[in-house]
Amino acid sequence: MSSIITRRTLVTGAAVGAGVLLTGCDKIAANPEARKILFMGEDMNRGLQRALTNRNALVPEFSPAQMSPIFRSNGTRDPGTPDYTAMVANNFADYRLQVGGLVGRPLSVTLPQLRQMPSRAQITRHDCVEGWSAIGKWQGPKLGALLNAAQIRDSARYVVFTCADLYGGTPYYESVDLVDAFHPQTILAWALNDQVLDVAHGAPVRLRVERQLGYKHAKYVMRIDAVDSLAGIGKGKGGYWEDNVDYDWYAGI
């Protein structure tokens, strides 16, 4: 008899314990001090990946036969602002990509100039933070070449992208460090699957930072700034999603 009660007590105890643990997890995630520990995982993963693996390793590239039949879009599919709509209407003739911040020579680059720069074409896999993947062919100049042309200063540590699409009234923004900015596969793509980049996928220019998740690949890039700290950008965490919904700044995992 007693063993039946024991079993029941144990099963009940386990269920109650699980419930306490579950609500405990949510309490922990709401406590500022505990959050710091929870959020340490990002730095630990970044540190481990950077320390144990080759910083210049290239992501696998695929053959045309391995591409997704349909490359879905997500995030902003059309910025829809008057300024952007006007740019689309005259085929981005008025578009200027501004490169500034900690550079010796600020640039203002037209789309034809960008397309004339030596470009890299790569068939790579795009991984959304949600879990899906799509394979497509991207083409554009290396970000590193543009930063060198602008004579990026030694004091620069991050590169910040400001975009034409608005989130809550402010432009989308993202940032990467110089390891990823100068990675050979980090490009400013103006073409997808051998077509001029369309509005849904980030026309006229979209960042490809292949070793990180999709939200780092800023679409509709308008400005590129070299900075020494992310403190003054948005709320200081380096990107719209990082600042507003706790996404990891390092999205290599």
Partner: protein, 248 residues
């Protein structure tokens, strides 16, 4: 002194085993809960390198029975959908899971826990032995009266599969989903057949772990809940008085 009714106490589990067990209990709980949260962001699974909404999925959440979806909702960390926080939990405790397993494996090789307790001998795998053990399980007899402290063959196999196959597959398929790791270790993609296949295998192996946990808990309860639980806390285990063998 040889009073057959007096309980005999043996030292069942070493400190390293006990610490790893409970660290992994908490870690598994968090990994399953936060993993469900991440799955909900895109509850479709594919085979191959790519897979998104326009591609054909081999399973999607809307095909699953409603009791399962309810159960998944109950276990999700955090309780209300938040992909960013689910990922924070998952990617921090992934490190705990992986390094705790690594430490446990090293210590268990040194203290010979693996060689002594988990090594499967060819003779144990003979159909006769396995059939005998199945029969013993069905009769709720879990210990060989001659060697009560030893694991039986079904127990050994389930622990070996969990420790050397399921958890390592979870860790490696998890790494395969990291775009950074795919650049550093592209062989991961070859081993698992692409990122979306790795994601599918991750969930299949997770299901295997959940089944292991259910069977493990059921057998702990059947074998004598408090005695088994105490042995994993203090290490001390009362050898159960065995029923007369001649009943059969």
């Amino acid at each position: 002194m040889n009073d057959p009714t007096a309980p005999m106490i043996i030292k069942r589990h070493r400190m390293a085993t006990r610490v790893w067990h409970w660290v992994t209990v908490v870690t598994m709980f968090i990994m399953i809960g936060s993993g469900i949260g991440i799955l909900k962001a895109h509850p479709r699974l594919y085979w191959g390198a790519y897979g998104a909404n326009f591609d054909s999925a081999w399973t999607t959440l809307d095909q699953w029975p409603s009791w399962l979806v309810t159960l998944l909702n109950l276990l999700t960390i955090p309780a209300s959908y938040n992909l960013a926080i689910s990922r924070r939990w998952h990617l921090l405790f992934a490190l705990v899971l992986a390094f705790a397993l690594l430490g446990f494996m090293i210590v268990s090789l040194i203290n010979k826990h693996f060689q002594r307790d988990l090594r499967v001998r060819a003779a144990e795998l003979s159909p006769r032995e396995v059939a005998h053990d199945v029969k013993e399980h069905l009769a709720f007899r879990f210990h060989d009266p001659k060697r009560p402290g030893a694991y039986n063959i079904l127990q050994k196999l389930s622990y070996v599969v969990t420790i050397f196959v399921l958890i390592p597959v979870m860790i490696l398929t998890g790494l395969t989903m990291s775009p950074g790791m795919d650049a550093a270790w592209p062989w991961l993609l070859d081993v698992f057949g692409g990122r979306q296949s790795a994601r599918s295998i991750h969930f299949i192996a997770a299901t295997g772990l959940v089944l292991f946990i259910i069977v493990h808990l059921a057998l702990v309860i059947l074998a004598g809940a408090w005695n088994e639980l105490r042995s994993m806390i203090t290490g001390r285990w009362h050898v159960p008085p065995h029923a007369p063998e001649d009943a059969a």
